[in-house]
């Protein structure tokens, strides 16, 4: 008997008929070039992510890695450094054979990032790989350096004819921060887009690579029950919190320059706001999703100088207690300049001025050395219009609140009113909880594993677009300027005790009966 199976595509079609049903889609043969190859990010995140992709058989059929950094060293020395970093920071114990297979395809190019010779040498290495493969290989340049080098590297890639390839894709992956002001972001975009097409550029916000953030899209757009309520008619306020119980650790140099607003709100937390407030995209293509996010950001008014004290608050932690131990205040931390006004806590009240959200406050707050580490989005619904029950003897009827927890225990919790068992009709709030960890067998991949794969595949959905980055900066830039040390005397810096709920002054951002959720 001979049969013809049903459903398949034909080879003439543009789609590859062999990818149907596969969980992992093919990634084209690629050489990844990491600038800043000996830095902390490369050692702790990028190299372990590459190893884990190799372990899972998820790297392209042909994969080469080139490390570029200022330090002089031989290929073999760099391979040894890669091996050490992978063994130390990988989420799983490396398989020696797989590790060897990965390291066999690693090379190193030393030199200063502004030296054209580095790029000539790099070009020769890339061409050598292609010669060995007998085919053109896609190229992905990963800028994992200090941000000051981004424009230099981009220009040099352009000058050395490495920004384009006649027979393969060339991609540019840029780490955060993408500028430290709106002006810097615009200038960096101008420099980058002077050498590369926007479709070649992948701006990393590693929050977008987290399963938890992607789950928000599934939560909103794969469940019919929430969307009818997801507007100003039913929602009273939205509160987005990203708190940490730790202090700044050894990052004083970076953190004192950045502060909480630039470190978390300008990028990650505004992305979360976009995911809460965006309209359903027509499709989940990169452009459609990013179009909707940009619309949200454009609907957030740029705060005026006069409005900033009413809608933004900064604070610093003082000495206190964390994890049962005494901990120093920010100004006593190693490396923090005396008298620094850098905020370790920032809270904003924003409004999304569109038909869906007009009048609904979006509260954003983030801080170091708070009571607990948690990232969550709390959506508070409006109270019921009429209460038929007596509240005597009860905790009071509270509005429904939907809480999406991103970490540490990813889940969804819905606060409901329920009758206390007994003869009287006494209501108290109860929580209906769902924890993602209890409902799936699979382990979430590390954000960098997902993002590196997506960039190599050319899927930009989880990366920020040029107009998106600028729209984020447009919202934060006036506040950054108002809080800049050059503004004398500038708005006061509130304080809060380490291990506490944050500054009491944050209450003044809240409208009406709104309250900050306990951290």
């Amino acid at each position: 008997m001979a049969i013809a199976a049903e459903q398949p595509d034909t080879p003439e079609q543009s789609e590859n008929p062999l990818t149907a049903g596969l969980e992992r889609l093919p990634v084209a043969p690629t050489t990844l070039v990491i600038f800043g190859a000996t830095g902390d990010l490369a050692r702790r995140k990028l190299l372990p992510a590459l190893y884990n992709l190799a372990h899972d058989g998820a790297l392209p059929e042909r994969f080469h890695l080139v490390g570029v950094s200022r330090k002089e060293k031989e290929h073999e020395d760099y391979r040894t450094e890669c091996e050490e970093a992978i063994k130390r920071f990988s989420r799983r114990k490396p398989d020696e054979e797989v590790l060897k297979g990965l390291l066999d395809n690693v090379k190193y190019v030393p030199g200063m990032f502004d030296d054209p010779e580095v790029y000539s040498e790099l070009k020769a290495v890339l061409e050598e790989f292609e010669h060995e493969a007998g085919e053109p290989l896609n190229r992905a340049f990963y800028l994992s350096t200090a941000p000051g080098f981004f424009p230099v590297i981009v220009d040099q890639l352009g000058e050395s004819q490495l920004a384009h390839h006649p027979d393969a894709e060339v991609r540019l992956i840029i780490e955060k921060p993408f500028g430290t002001t709106l002006e810097e972001a615009r200038e960096l975009n101008r420099r980058v887009l002077g050498r590369f097409e926007e479709s070649q550029v992948y701006r990393i916000d590693h929050y977008l690579g987290k399963e938890t953030v992607q789950n928000m899209m599934a939560f909103r757009f794969a469940n019919g029950m929430f969307e009818p309520l997801w507007n100003r008619n039913y929602i009273d306020s939205v509160q987005i919190t990203a708190s940490e119980d730790l202090g700044i650790g050894t990052r004083a140099g970076y953190y004192d320059e950045a502060g909480a607003l630039r470190d978390l709100i300008q990028n990650h937390m505004l992305q979360l706001l976009c995911h809460v407030a965006m309209e359903p995209p027509v499709s989940f293509t990169a452009e459609e999703v990013r179009n909707e996010k940009v619309k949200v950001l454009q609907a957030v008014s740029e705060p005026t100088v006069a409005e900033i004290p009413e809608m933004a608050l900064r604070a610093q932690y003082t000495a206190g207690h964390a994890g049962g131990e005494d901990v120093p205040g920010y100004l006593e931390e190693d490396g923090v300049p005396a008298g620094s006004k850098t905020e370790t806590y920032a809270a904003l009240r924003l409004e999304v001025n569109n038909w869906r959200w007009a009048g609904v406050p979006f509260y954003l707050r983030t801080g170091k050395r708070l009571a607990r580490k948690v990232t969550e989005i709390a959506v508070t619904l409006k109270p019921v219009p009429h209460l038929a029950f007596s509240q005597e003897g009860s905790l009071g009827i509270q509005p429904n609140q939907l809480v999406l927890t991103l970490q540490p225990n990813e889940g969804v919790s819905l606060r409901l009113g329920a009758k206390i068992p007994g003869t009287r009709m006494i209501i108290r709030p109860v929580n209906m909880e769902f924890l993602y960890g209890t409902a799936f067998l699979s382990q979430s991949p590390e954000a960098y594993e997902r993002l590196i794969t997506d960039a190599m595949r050319g899927d930009a959905t989880l990366f920020t677009r040029n107009d998106e980055v600028e729209a984020q900066w447009r919202i934060c830039d006036p506040i950054v300027k108002a809080w800049h040390p050059s503004q004398q005397p500038g708005p006061p810096v509130a304080t809060y005790e380490a291990g506490s709920q944050g500054p009491v002054e944050a209450e003044r951002l809240l409208r009406g009966d709104d309250r900050w959720r306990a951290i």
Partner: protein, 353 residues
């Protein structure tokens, strides 16, 4: 706090007492340790011969995080008249501060011939309502699978375990009409399918798919079913008309046709391969392209030659999953749906007819 490890057992028990014990243990754990929460992903029922139950328990222990939320082991012993049961609730690890740890429940029911007529009513109360249930009978007992099928949304089987590949494929096909089939023989071919798909993904290579003229699969002596499924997958995706396999157990040949073009198919055993599954694959095209993938240390060894030119060889990194990894993947797949398995199975049936 210490790791949770709660146990209940009773001889001469009943399903409702077992179910009651499960509920009671969960309430007790939740009351004392709120950070431990029961996983609610998947039920799994395994019907095993008692004399081999230790081996099955070892295999299941190896699947790690892919352990079903509630595992119900029906351990069959001919001649047994009393129903005994053990309930174990355990967390694999302690929770990190502020985080949760998952509890997994295992129920082992010892039963005999006298319980077979009412097996469904013994198993039914023990599974968590509204969770999908995966059914596994690793020691045969096809009639038991039929009895328990009303409880199952998915059936786990391993076509390479059946001594006869044709019977194995027929059996799998029969089950596809009743539940979603997760075939470990199919899952053993996943890395191969992924790599073949990737090799032919670049547009220039994709055109070669229409020019394939030969496929040769090297496999473990007991894994004809896996090899046949791999060819069946390729044939079904590329709309081949697959003819029957001829030849002995070490080498089987078949012919496929596609738009008037013949494709020669060869399945051959690899005596070197010590584990079930596939050892290698070679595909050739009418214009002289030859692509081979072979098992190697640290991944698959690829070899590409064009028109008799100098071949290029390289390694595609990837760690072996091992047999426990394949079983774990099988449990995970019970929650997914692969639309390409049944067409591949139908094509394999045609080859083994």
């Amino acid at each position: 706090m210490g790791r949770i490890d709660a146990v209940w057992s009773e001889q001469g028990t009943s399903p409702d007492k077992i179910e009651g014990a499960l509920r009671q243990l969960l309430v007790e754990i939740h009351t004392q340790h709120r950070e431990f929460v029961p996983a609610r992903v998947l039920n799994m029922i395994a019907f095993v011969d008692r004399e081999w139950s230790g081996e099955i328990a070892n295999r299941l222990r190896g699947v790690g995080r892919y352990h079903a939320s509630r595992m119900v082991v029906l351990s069959y012993e001919p001649g047994r008249e009393r129903l005994d049961a053990r309930v174990m609730i355990a967390a694999e690890s302690d929770p990190a501060p502020g985080e949760i740890a998952l509890l997994r429940e295992t129920v082992v029911v010892e039963l005999g011939d006298c319980h077979m007529d009412n097996l469904l009513t013994i198993a039914d109360p023990l599974v968590v309502t509204d969770l999908p249930t995966l059914l596994w009978s690793p020691h045969g007992h096809h009639e038991i699978v039929a009895d328990l099928m009303p409880l199952a949304q998915a059936v786990l089987l391993d076509s390479v375990v059946e001594p006869d590949a044709r019977e194995a494929v027929e059996r799998a096909f029969e089950l596809t009409g009743q539940a979603y089939v997760v075939d470990l023989a199919w899952l053993r071919s996943t890395p191969w399918r992924e790599r073949v798909a990737a090799m032919f993904d670049p547009p220039a290579m994709r055109r070669e798919l229409g020019r394939l003229s030969s496929v040769s699969v090297r496999h473990h002596a007991a894994s004809t079913a896996a090899a046949t499924l791999l060819v069946g997958w390729l044939g079904s995706r590329l709309k081949w008309q697959l003819g029957p396999l001829r030849g002995g157990p070490d080498e089987r040949l078949a012919t496929a046709t596609s738009r008037g073009q013949e494709i020669s198919v060869k399945l051959e055993t690899d005596p070197e391969l010590q584990v079930p599954g596939l050892a290698g694959l070679t595909v050739g095209t009418t214009d002289g392209l030859s692509l081979s993938l072979d098992r190697g240390p640290g991944g698959l060894r690829a070899r590409l030659a064009r028109n008799g030119g100098e071949p290029r060889q390289w390694t595609i990194p990837g760690a072996s999953r091992g047999e426990t990894g394949v079983l774990g993947e099988g449990i995970r797949q019970a929650l997914l749906r692969d639309p390409t398995y049944v067409p591949a199975l139908e094509a394999a049936r045609a080859m083994l007819a």
